[in-house]
Symmetry: C2
Subunit: 194 residues, 2 copies
């Protein structure tokens, strides 16, 4: 049998992993997962130097906006959690009634699309990037209040063309998947078109 | 040589056709097309009972919203020009700076996507329709101020599945093309999910 301190160590390492997979997990949800009390989770977070949910999201989002080249921060739909130009990134969107069909409370497709498209553009290492083609699939309805986590991966780069895969999940269930082909534009191009 | 009255008749019939193809054509543009004066065009419109641009768009849009089953009027991105449930429809969107990337004044993809998705849903003859899959292509950049005309055609219906093609053009040049596969939901489904 393992001693209490090693139990804690293991829990904290799994806790870190869980929060990487799903940054939306609240202390209450974590307590349930680990079958411990909420104060225990708070102590774990404190020892690991992880702020609480809101603070956590705010911190990382601010840090990530400065990295993006192809968009201004206010142009991004959702909040950036992580970004690595030319490689990939993560963003989140808390849905609400304003994004939903009135009758069904199902979130309208184009809000989910916008989250995915924003992230696909944000991860491109170029000043201006536009979507050329997108093949997308909505896998299951998203309801008002659902919290969405989007992950993007740059799969291929050739000349000024980029293939980016984006998947969006709610509570680790995939709700959307999309392949975006983006094109970066030379500064000359958009200056001359104005 | 044809007599003046038959010249006018022919011009008026072509004028009707032109306005069906591109309802955004102004009197000035029509005058240029027909190499006549703007007052001549106004007279033509008067005789044909066609109101001027703004009025024209407002009239048809209002008439069409009441036909749509799957969306509330405020849920539609763009203005509906024409709708025939289960068959097809047309809508328009006047783009502006609020929809554009700040740096380039290029309209962000998701606004164009939203116009197309809204129309694809609006033409479905069902109370609730959701997008399952979309394959879309942005063919050329759209700039702030461009007026977009979207046309949708229901290509196939099987059980609760619909295939809808949407194309969007600016001054009769295609800027976007998309194939949407939609699914209609039974009332039971969305009531039980709430």
């Amino acid at each position: 049998m393992s001693r209490p301190s090693s139990v804690k160590k293991e829990r904290q390492s799994v806790l870190l992993e869980k929060l990487t997979q799903d940054p939306f997990l609240t202390d209450e949800e974590l307590a349930e997962i680990f079958k411990v009390s909420v104060p225990t989770i708070r102590l774990d977070r404190l020892e690991l130097g992880i702020p609480e949910l809101r603070e956590r999201i705010k911190n990382v989002a601010e840090k990530n906006y400065t990295k993006v080249k192809s968009l201004n921060s206010k142009e991004i739909v959702g909040e950036l959690l992580d970004i690595s130009l030319g490689v990939g990134g993560m963003s989140i969107l808390e849905t609400d009634d304003s994004m939903a069909f009135e009758r069904t409370k199902i979130i309208r497709g184009h809000y989910i699309y916008s989250l995915a498209e924003s992230l696909a553009i944000a991860v491109i290492d170029a000043d201006v990037a536009l979507v050329g083609v997108a093949n997308i699939k909505y896998k299951t309805p998203v309801y008002s209040g659902n919290k969405l986590l989007a992950k993007a991966e740059v799969k291929k780069v050739r000349d000024n063309k980029y293939i980016v895969w984006v998947n969006i999940s709610h509570k680790q269930v995939e709700v959307f998947r999309g392949k975006f082909i983006l094109v970066s534009l030379e500064k000359d191009f958009y200056d001359s078109e104005k």
